[in-house]
């Protein structure tokens, strides 16, 4: 370091140190600590997002890989003209709604049971959280094997135990869509269970006693005490769960082998992935991503507003 540079560094540190001693330093110090995170977020989140938006208005594809030019709203117009968008969007809504519904109902129901006085609840809790702890990749492929038409556990149980005809899990479009939903319900309910359990344990017992004095039964307590007090905790988890499920590509992609049968089991994210990396339609896929981004943004905004998620439990 040269003498001049050393002086400059000393002067900079001196100035920072002075600001720290005064109130300004205390205010700015958190920003210094936040700076690395902010820098990383700018690089890994904001930059790709802006790049994606720019790409959506270009014509980048296999033949225009290095010479992509701006084509205005052409990609968006094409997407809205195609029937594929509406079909895939419909499937995505079904996929998300069914999954989140079962995640929440199963999660809350099991949490309520575990929150009561049952023998060995710790063991049950550990067992029930297992699906969440196992890597998605392994779970999805294991389930895929279990759905095998002839040798899979599911069809063997159906035929040997219940004497039912085996289900064509991957050659029938409806069953092929149900298979990843079952897998994802199994994978996703422990998260809601843990969130709900945390919420249940924070509800003061006196409130239940008061409800009992007011003559509330089990259902009354659930409706008037448990659910309203769980809402502030569950609502953000539902928003998160919805966004995650909407964008969850791993499970459906792995279980259906990338859209089997005949590309009939795509949701928006798998459809976009295929458009970009199989068909080399980068700008088209980017435009599709922008649409999905605004759909999710709109949903989150409306959900937060409607359910007043930011309200505290006891307000």
């Amino acid at each position: 370091m040269t003498h001049g540079a050393g002086e400059q560094a000393n002067s900079l540190l001196g100035s920072l140190s002075h600001r720290l001693r005064s109130g300004g330093g205390r205010r700015s110090f958190p920003y210094v600590l936040l700076a690395p995170t902010v820098a990383i977020m700018l690089v890994v989140v904001l930059y790709p997002l802006i790049y994606n938006f720019v790409l959506a208005f270009k014509n980048m594809s296999m033949y225009h890989f290095h010479d992509a030019r701006f084509v205005g709203l052409r990609n968006f117009a094409q997407i809205f003209r195609e029937t594929e968008l509406y079909l895939v969007f419909g499937k995505t809504i079904i996929w998300t709604a069914v999954n989140v519904f079962f995640h929440v109902t199963l999660g809350v129901a099991i949490a309520v049971v575990l929150n009561g006085r049952i023998y060995g609840s710790g063991i049950f809790r550990a067992l029930l959280i297992l699906p969440w702890a196992i890597p998605q990749y392994i779970s999805a492929l294991t389930w895929k094997g279990m759905f095998n038409h002839e040798y899979g556990a599911v069809n063997l149980i159906l035929s040997k135990v219940f004497h039912l005809a085996p289900i064509p899990w991957f050659s029938d479009a409806t069953w092929a869509f149900i298979a990843p939903i079952i897998t994802n319900v199994w994978l996703g309910f422990p998260f809601m269970m843990i969130v709900a359990l945390g919420g249940l344990q924070s509800i003061p017992h006196e409130l239940y006693e008061a409800a009992e004095l007011d003559g509330a039964g089990a259902l009354g307590k659930l409706r008037n005490v448990t659910l309203p007090l769980l809402k502030p905790i569950l609502a953000p988890a539902i928003v998160l769960g919805t966004v995650w499920t909407f964008n969850n590509m791993n499970v459906i992609w792995l279980v259906t082998g990338g859209g089997l049968p005949a590309d009939k089991t795509h949701i928006l994210v798998t459809y976009i992935y295929k458009a970009a990396f199989t068909y080399y339609r980068y700008s088209y896929a980017a435009a599709f991503s922008v649409i999905v981004f605004f759909l999710l943004l709109g949903f989150t905004f409306l959900f937060m507003k409607y359910f007043k998620v930011s309200e505290a439990a006891f307000e």
Binding site: P168, S171, D263, F277, Y280
Partner: protein, 412 residues
């Protein structure tokens, strides 16, 4: 003291940031290879890399394995961003998209005519007058693999083929579950349909690279494969690559249609395996025509210039006659080097003889980018026919229409 504390804070914050970004600008001293090889091929590659590193102290060659589709995705993403490995290994059909996207380097820039003349004619992936891959094997051709325990003499016609398959589709204990299938193959990918398409006199594209999918030959080929499952019931109701491979390796399938990348694995699994050309089509008298291609190494356009000499040396070594001889002996893959191919004498190895016969029945896989659109257009309709959700005529029409649309979109 305060200054020191503040300095410590700033240093800590910088360290976190630098730690996170660490490696971004690190200079890479080695050569990376991304491949989609089967486990047996990977073992040979590792042994070769170890030998190369011993001969070149200080040079590190690393490999990263992907499934074929994943390799394509990962490589194009990495190369797009200006990175990726120096070498990428795979079958010929990667060459079309990669070269159009300018992700791989024309190899005539690196090697001279003399080097290329050492390879079997037609084994070099050439597009628009440039060579884009150095092959370590030729073929990649589907053939009939059979378990000698169940099939003593391989079929020579498709009538015999169906008959043997029927005899070997059995429910041994009468529990309603088929214990052994006569035939298994990947009934999801149209690559396995193509031999029969050729057997009925059709092909996937014409000389101008326009799709030729809506033809009577395609309709017949689709019906033939669909009948194997629906009418003759010799093929499992749902059968992708993994299931086919598992059933054959476990001795639960008498015959399998698969390519040279898998044959070594069956021998290692202890199956008494035989190889035969796909049987002549009884209806037309034509031989099925599996797609023939090479598998080889391409050089990433982002590979630094200063590494190219070493890359050349590595390529020469990995595809050397000596190494291809080992691959041929161990994995029963046909060599791309003339010196080894010319030394093959008929009768010395029945397995290789049959592979060679099958190779000669095959047709060269087009390396143009249009091939990708054709595969992706064939796949859904082919699956629909096998699942009895579409008749072959409608499937052929849909394939053609979709292929034309996809090719047009690719060029938009």
């Amino acid at each position: 003291m305060r200054k020191a504390k503040l300095l410590l804070h700033v240093v800590c914050a910088a360290a976190v940031l630098l730690g996170a970004l660490g490696g971004c600008g690190r200079k890479d001293e080695g050569i990376a290879i991304w491949e989609q090889m089967d486990p047996e091929e990977q073992k040979l590659l590792q042994a070769r890399i170890a030998a190369f590193e011993r001969a070149h102290p200080g040079v590190a060659v690393t490999t990263l394995h992907f499934e074929t589709e994943q390799l394509q995705t990962q490589f194009q993403t990495a190369a797009l961003a200006g990175g990726g490995p120096c070498l990428v290994f795979g079958p010929s059909d990667k060459v079309g998209p990669y070269s159009v996207m300018k992700l791989i380097r024309p190899l005539d820039e690196l090697f001279g005519e003399e080097f290329f003349s050492l390879f079997v004619e037609g084994s070099l992936d050439t597009l628009n007058g440039h060579i884009y891959a150095i092959p370590d094997q030729v073929g990649n051709h589907l053939a009939l693999v059979y378990n000698r325990k169940f099939v003593k003499t391989p079929p020579t016609s498709t009538d015999e083929f169906i008959s043997i398959a029927k005899q070997n589709t059995v429910d041994e204990n009468g529990d309603g579950i088929t214990d052994r299938y006569g035939l298994v193959f990947n009934a999801v990918e149209p690559f396995w349909l193509v031999p029969f398409l050729g057997g009925f006199g059709g092909w996937v594209m014409d000389e101008d690279h326009a799709p030729t999918l809506d033809t009577p030959a395609m309709v017949k080929a689709l019906r033939f494969v669909s009948d194997l499952r629906a009418k003759h019931r010799v093929l499992p109701k749902e059968c992708d690559y993994q299931q086919a491979e598992t059933l054959f390796k476990e001795g639960k399938a008498a015959m399998m249609i698969n390519g040279p990348w898998s044959w070594g694995g069956y021998i290692s699994a202890g199956i008494d395996v035989g190889l035969a050309p796909l049987p002549r089509m009884s209806e037309t008298g034509l031989w099925p025509t599996p797609m023939v291609s090479s598998k080889g190494y391409s050089v990433n356009v982002n590979c630094p210039r200063e590494k190219l000499e070493l890359v050349k040396e590595l390529l020469d070594f990995l595809t050397s006659p000596e190494n291809q001889m080992v691959t041929m002996r161990r994995l029963r893959m046909l060599p791309a080097r003339k010196a080894i191919a010319d030394s093959l004498t008929p009768g010395s190895d029945l397995f290789l003889d049959n592979s060679l016969i099958q190779l000669k029945h095959g047709r060269r896989m087009p390396v143009v980018p249009e091939m990708r659109a054709i595969w992706d257009s064939m796949r859904p309709s082919y699956q629909n026919v096998l699942n009895q959700e579409m008749i072959p005529e409608e499937a052929a029409r849909t394939m053609q229409k979709t292929a034309l649309e996809r090719i047009a979109r690719m060029k938009e």
